[in-house]
Each structure stands twice: as C-alpha cells, then as structure tokens.
C-alpha cells in the first residue's frame, strides 16, 4: 500500500529540514527588507527639491547634490562611450574571427580573473597610469577611463557568451547564401543576441553607478557645477564618493542617507530596465 505511514524518524527529519529552510529564507528576506526600510526612513526626510537641484555653498551653508548627480552621469556616459564598442568589438573578434582557440581561451581566462579583482586596485592603477603617467590629474575623465578598464572584461565576456548562444545553423544559412563574414555578424549574429548584449551593458551601468573605491583615487572630490566637457577635465565627486565624504569627513549623516536613497532608487531602476529589456526581446523572439 502507498498509504503506509512514514516512520517517526523520517517525519521528524522532514519537519526539521523544512523549518531550517524557512528560517534561512525569511532571514534573507528580512535583512534586505530591513536595510531598505531603514535607508528610506533615514533618507527620505532629508530629501527635498532644493537638495536635488542645487550645488553646495559654504557661504550659506546650503547642501545640494546636483553637481554629484551630474558628475555621476558624466562618468557613466564617458565610460560607456568607450567601453561598449571596445567590449563588443573584442568579443566579436574573439568569438567570430579568431582562429587560434588556445590564445582565445587564455584571453577569456585573463578577462575572468580581471573581473574578480577588487576595484580599489583598478583605482590605484588608474591613478598611476591616467592621472600621473598620462597627466590627466584627478579628473572625471581619468575616473571614467578607470571604470572602462574595470568593466571591459565584464562586457566582453557577457557579449561573448551571448554570441555563443546564436545557433551555428543561422551562420551556415547566411554563409551558404554568399554573405561575407561581417554581413553575417551584422545581420544575423548580433541581432540574434542583442538582448544578452544589452543586459550585459545595463548591468555594467549598475556597476559604474555603484563604484566608489576606484573613483576615490582618480576622479576627485569637488562639488562644482560643470558642463559635460569641462566636467570631464576637472575633478569632481560621484554620488558614491559624495556619500563617503559627507558621512566620513563632514559627519553629515542625514545627507549621506539621502544620497543612499537616491542610489538605491537608481539601481532599482537599472535592474528593472535590464529585466524589461530581456522580456521585451524574449517576446519578440517567440512571435
């Protein structure tokens, strides 16, 4: 009979295991929830329209984070303009053109190692190379280029992996019609994996937004309001660096929590965008 009763020992074991898993899951969920709620409670009262849209002034004692928001956007744009073509280009070369698979796998291994290195090391190298050796001083450009190097392996590897998901039968079909290699890549391979590539790029944006250690060394701390081109040439703090400075050096914890709230919101939006793009392209593929 199937209805035979389980032994006491087994029933006890099942109950205990189930309880343990409940505890683990609820602990994780509570931790995340508590963190978010705590941040919001501390941060939201310090948020105001003026806070978001003005620059700080020592004369009036006003605190505003507009320069930091703009600096973050500048760094992001500058870094992405360089890293996206570079990363996608190298991925396409390694996957579609390179003949020597041995060297390709060495490069892949190196890229994976690079993406695991603590970001402060990138900061140090960026400071020595961009700021000092290339004479850029501490500037948003030096910071953006440092972030480029940091994100290059990630974008390259995610693009490579998405290129590999395109069935080789598509390539064969296109080659069989007499298409050149570049035409095959441009019209069949890249459109076939654009969702993976875009998701990789969006996640990279998240990494750039959240990066602080590498920027402490390279981008500086100024809160001056600048345009894009002037901004790249001068020192400036991103939101994350500003958070550090306000909290650690000026004891302005209210301001720090307000910035943290903004950052939380932004990274939530970035993850949402990544999710939505994936869904959009998946739906497009199945129609």
């Amino acid at each position: 009979m199937i209805k035979e009763k389980l032994s006491f020992k087994r029933r006890f074991y099942i109950v205990i295991m189930r309880a343990l898993m409940y505890i683990c899951t609820s602990l994780t969920a509570c931790l995340v929830l508590a963190l978010v709620v705590y941040l919001l409670i501390k941060g939201i009262p310090n948020l105001s329209w003026e806070f978001l849209t003005s620059s700080p002034s020592y004369l009036t004692g006003r605190i505003g984070i507009l320069p930091d928001i703009l600096n973050t956007i500048y760094i992001m744009i500058a870094a992405l303009i360089v890293v996206i073509p570079l990363g996608i280009g190298s991925a396409v070369y390694l996957t579609e053109y390179a003949k020597n698979k041995r060297i390709v796998s060495i490069i892949e291994y190196a890229a994976e190692t690079l993406s695991g290195i603590p970001s402060i090391i990138y900061g140090l190298v960026g400071m020595l190379f961009f700021c000092q050796f290339l004479g850029m001083q501490t500037s948003l450009l030096a910071g953006a280029l440092t972030l480029c190097i940091m994100n290059l392996p990630t974008i390259m590897r995610t693009t490579q992996e998405s290129l590999k998901t395109v069935p080789s039968s598509y390539r064969e079909g296109a080659f069989g019609l007499g298409a050149s290699r570049w035409r095959v890549i441009r019209t069949v391979v890249l459109p076939g994996c654009v969702d993976g590539v875009i998701t990789g790029c969006i996640l990279s944006i998240g990494r750039i937004l959240g990066e602080s250690a590498a920027l402490l060394f390279t981008a500086g701390f100024a809160h001056t309001l600048n345009g894009f081109v002037d901004g790249l040439g001068s020192s400036g703090s991103s939101l994350t660096v500003a958070l550090y400075v306000y909290a650690k050096e000026q004891g302005e914890f209210g301001v720090a929590f307000a910035i943290a709230t903004i950052l939380l919101l932004l990274s939530f939006m970035i993850n949402l965008a990544a999710e939505l793009t994936q869904r959009f392209f998946r739906r497009k593929k199945t129609i």
Binding site: K99, K101, P167, S169, Y170, R171, E172, G173, A174, F175, G176, L177, G178, A179, S180, R183, T187, V188, P191, G192, K285, T286, I287
Partner: protein, 257 residues
C-alpha cells in the same frame, strides 16, 4: 558561362581528398555531376557524403583545420583556385541544410536576405524576387498573407520550403541539399520531393539522403560513398538494379548501414 549550358556535366570533381586534422574524410573522389538533373549521394553515416557535398560550394572553409587536395571544377572553373570569389560561388551553388534554419526574421526578410547580400536594394525588385522564389518553392499560397510574420512560426516542413525559397532567391544554378527531409514528417517529405522534381527543370540538384527509397524516387544518378571513398556512381536505375560493386549491393539490400 552560357556556353556550358548545353554540355552535360556542370560540376567535375577530380582526385578530391579531404582531411579534418589528421583524419582523412575523403579519398580520391572523382565524380561528374550532370546539369539539370538530380544526383543522390547515399551511404552510411560518417561515410563522407555530407562532407563531399560541402566541398562543392566551399562550406568546409568555415571549419578550422580542413585540408583539401584535388580539383573541383564548376563550369570549368577551379573553385579552389585562390582567385575564386567564394561569395559569388555560393550565390551560384546554393545550399539547403538538414535542419530547417530560417533566420529569426520575417518570411519576407528571409527570402530577401540573399538578394540584398548581393546588392539588390530596390523594393519593387525585391518584392518580385520574393514572390517568384516563394512560388518556385511551392509555399507562396501558404504564406502570402503573412509575409511580415516571423518565419519561426511556420511548421518544420514549411520552414524547409522557405529555406529552399531563400536559396532560390539568389538565382543559383546548382542546389545542394543535405538530407533536407530527415527532420520532417512523411507528408512534408513528399512535398519536398515533388518540389525537388519540379526544380530539376531549372536547376542542377545534388541531394544527400539516408533514405534509399527517396534516392530511387527522385534521383537520376546516384553515387555511393563508403568510408570516404566513392565506391560507385551511375544511373540510379542501374545502381539499384545491377550494382557492379559487392559493397554497393550489400548496402542497398540493407546488409549494413
């Protein structure tokens, strides 16, 4: 190239050998392929028939570590000569694959892909080519109302006929078919077979098949491959009734393979 229209063979293979790394996959193959007829390549799995088919439009170029010796003449031009334009060669010698492989685009875009590749951009011209190719591939009536729909929504048999239309759209003179019906159901298979017989009027067709009845039903001549060697070739009727080699006889009577 028009002066060759009347001569009988369109492809002429001489002493062709092919190696994948150290493994020799084809040994001294000599074969003439007749114009405007169907040539079937038969033989057990791994005998080299698909490999041989791919040497005819240089699709093996895509596989690293392939070495080829011997000559393949298409209309008296050596296609392995360094001066050969591979893109142009593949336009003239089209290919249909074992698994239907339409691109993940609309039906229209699939058929227009080849002509666009070869520089045709006028919308009216493309429209004409798409309609003509789909009609030639006997699928026009089924898809004419949904040309803008994604090709992956078609059934397997329809996808394969779409792939044939896609290959026809660049106006080839030879069509290579690599087991085009092995992934299809019997009804789709018979449709493709009928279509192949119709296409023979305009194109020279080389078809790899595992199905001996299929070879008998549609082909004019047959070539039997075994372990990289071309054992025997000739009229299909003759091969299947009076094979001159013992190995051919054993294979077609089902003693192995």
């Amino acid at each position: 190239m028009t002066e060759n229209e009347n001569t009988k063979s369109i492809i002429n293979v001489e002493d062709l050998c092919l190696w994948y790394g150290n493994h020799q996959a084809l040994e001294n193959v000599n074969l003439k392929i007749d114009s405007k007829s169907i040539t079937a390549l038969i033989g057990p799995s791994g005998c080299g028939k698909s490999t041989f088919l791919k040497t005819l439009n240089r699709m093996n170029d895509l596989i690293p570590e392939v070495k080829i010796t011997g000559k393949v003449f298409y209309n008296n031009i050596d296609i392995y000569d360094p001066s050969t334009d591979v893109s142009n060669l593949r336009r003239q010698i089209g290919m249909v694959f074992q698994k239907p492989n339409p691109f993940p685009m609309s039906i229209y875009e699939n058929v227009a892909y080849g002509p666009k590749t070869h520089g045709i951009s006028s919308k009216a011209k493309l429209d004409d080519i798409v309609e003509e190719s789909l009609k030639d591939a006997a699928i026009w009536d089924e898809v004419k109302d949904r040309l803008k729909k994604n090709a992956l929504g078609l059934s397997g048999g329809q996808q394969q006929r779409l792939c044939i239309a896609r290959a026809l759209a660049v106006k080839p003179s030879v069509l290579l078919m690599d087991e085009p019906t092995s992934a299809l159901d019997p009804i789709s298979t018979s449709k493709i077979e009928e279509l192949t017989l119709e296409l023979k009027e305009k194109y020279s067709i080389v078809i790899v098949t595992h199905n001996m009845q299929q070879a008998v039903r549609i082909s004019d001549s047959t070539a039997f491959f075994l372990m990289g060697e071309l054992v025997e070739s000739g009229d299909t009727e003759r091969i299947f009734s009076k094979p001159s080699d013992k190995r051919t006889e054993d294979y077609i009577t089902g003693r192995f393979g």
